[in-house]
């Protein structure tokens, strides 16, 4: 049957593609179904008492409750909003400082030499290790988690901008120089767009780290936010609240990543070339 050559191949390719798409859906659904199935089985057969693990339906019901009955002073969406606000502010700060710094390090060896030793030393301190320090400095207010998220989100911004800057075709920089580009024009009009695909990849990684660091920080220092809500749930022995919080964190994190990936794909596809 393969002796038909070209037409047979031309026919086979799209079919194989749709096959793999179908298989993907089946496998993904199977994965989710297994996860929930085990959860349902374990809870409904009474293998684990509901004080440790409530059933999926109990968690879902709890999530619905949380959206109109305040828990620890706020509704679920208010906790979420508080978390997103902290995240948004420090993520923005990390991007606005990190990306230009990375580009400058990639452009000027002197800046690279100046910053690298300090940066390399600091970036291996896990964000969570910044928590005690940030409490010393900022107490338990808004700024403490902000610093922790910044610690998580900053490095990938710098590293990817740096790598992106290093990989810019040297001739493009030279062409810009001979056309009279200097200083900020060079940085903003030439290096930033030329390194953009790398930078956006960094922004995505950075958003993930930042979001995770935020929850970590809130577990310890928050007085609002999803992390704080989880801790309150734990001390009130309300496992459904704990899991509801975790589920929200997971889903929102995935949404953030999905958005960033869409941005990344769009840039890779439509960014010249």
């Amino acid at each position: 049957m393969a002796t038909l050559g070209a037409p047979a191949r031309a026919h086979a390719a799209p079919q194989a593609l749709s096959d793999s798409a179908a298989w993907r859906t089946i496998a993904s659904t199977l994965g989710v179904a297994t996860f929930i199935g085990v959860w349902v089985a374990v809870t409904s057969l009474g293998l684990v008492p509901p004080t440790f693990l409530p059933s999926p339906t109990a968690v879902l019901a709890r999530i619905v409750d949380l959206t109109h009955e305040p828990y620890s002073g706020s509704l679920l969406q208010a906790h979420l909003l508080a978390s997103l606000r902290k995240f948004g502010l420090s993520y923005l700060l990390a991007v606005v400082i990190g990306v230009p710094l990375g580009l400058l390090m990639g452009r000027f060896r002197f800046v690279d030499w100046l910053v690298s030793p300090v940066f390399e030393g600091l970036r291996f301190i896990p964000p969570i290790a910044w928590v005690p320090f940030s409490i010393l400095w900022f107490g338990t207010g808004f700024l403490a988690p902000t610093l922790v998220i910044f610690a998580g989100a900053f490095s990938p911004c710098v590293l990817n901008a740096y790598r992106g800057a290093k990989l810019i075709d040297r001739q493009l920089i030279e062409a810009a120089q001979t056309l009279g580009a200097r200083g900020w024009t060079m940085l903003g009009q030439v290096m930033l767009p030329a390194a953009l695909p790398h930078i956006v990849a960094g922004l995505r990684v950075s958003a993930g780290f930042g979001w995770q660091s935020l929850i970590g920080a809130e577990l310890i220092v928050g007085s609002t936010g999803l992390g704080y809500m989880i801790v309150q749930g734990e001390s009130n022995l309300a496992p459904a609240v704990v899991i509801a919080g975790m589920a929200t964190i997971g889903v929102v994190g995935a949404l953030i990543d999905y958005t960033m990936r869409a941005l990344e794909d769009w840039i890779r596809r439509d960014w010249g070339r």
Partner: protein, 243 residues
């Protein structure tokens, strides 16, 4: 490179030919301010060159267009850096778009254009700055033979309409003789000037400019004579370096 010294006059088109490794590209890069001589100096007018600048725009072999900018924005880039007002910028851009036959492609991106068209954009981008010296580093080296011929004719036409001071690097002897007023022939290791061949007197005497097409010029006995002369200069050194 050693003892390379020559002067390019205003509105003169000088081509540099030489074997690879003779330093002709380094010479152009020094004029651009991208490389620096270990001794001696490069001057434009009275000013010694200490870095790149838009008074010496470069056309690169690989075009080096900004892939995220449209044709019009690429051409406008240098003017924008210079702080030219928006209205003046648009006027200059559309002038060079028309001159280089790029009408209808203003909003296209470089990757949507053929190599020849991309190099037209790069040339327009440099010309738009009206630089004191235009530096061209094998600008047609990456193009296929037919496109290359078209671009050479275009460049001759352009320098008749809009004569500029040009320093042009090439390894094609024909290209050098066809385009240049003077051809600087260089030797390899150490890179030195072998001879500077005057083309303009021959071009005027033999009326090359009356020819529309490059092949009509290349057919002329005077052209063949000059080309052969330069080939011999290049081959002599090749023989010498083999020993």
């Amino acid at each position: 490179m050693d003892e390379v010294s020559f002067v390019v006059a205003e509105r003169e088109f000088v081509a540099i030919v030489g074997p690879s490794g003779c330093g002709k590209t380094t010479l152009l890069r020094m004029a651009a301010g991208l490389d620096f001589p270990t001794g001696g100096a490069v001057r434009v007018g009275d000013r010694q060159i200490d870095g790149p600048g838009s008074d010496r725009a470069v056309v690169f072999q690989q075009f080096a267009l900004f892939p995220w900018k449209t044709v019009a924005d690429n051409i406008a880039f240098g003017l924008k850096c210079r702080g030219t007002a928006e209205s003046a910028r648009q006027e200059i851009v559309s002038h060079y778009v028309a001159l280089m036959g790029l009408q209808g492609y203003e909003r296209a991106f470089p990757h949507q254009l053929s190599g020849g068209m991309q190099q037209r954009v790069a040339i327009a981008r440099s010309y738009a700055l009206e630089p004191s010296v235009l530096l061209m580093d094998e600008p047609f080296g990456a193009l296929d033979a037919q496109t290359r011929v078209g671009m050479q004719e275009e460049l001759v036409r352009l320098s008749r309409i809009n004569p500029r001071t040009v320093l042009f690097i090439t390894h094609s002897v024909e290209e050098a003789v066809y385009l240049a007023d003077r051809v600087v022939v260089m030797t390899r290791r150490p890179g030195r000037i072998r001879e500077i061949v005057e083309v303009t007197p021959v071009r005027r005497r033999e009326g090359w400019d009356a020819c529309e097409r490059i092949e009509d010029v290349m057919d002329q006995e005077s052209f063949v004579h000059l080309r052969t002369h330069i080939w011999k200069l290049l081959r002599e050194q090749h023989g010498a370096s083999a020993h």
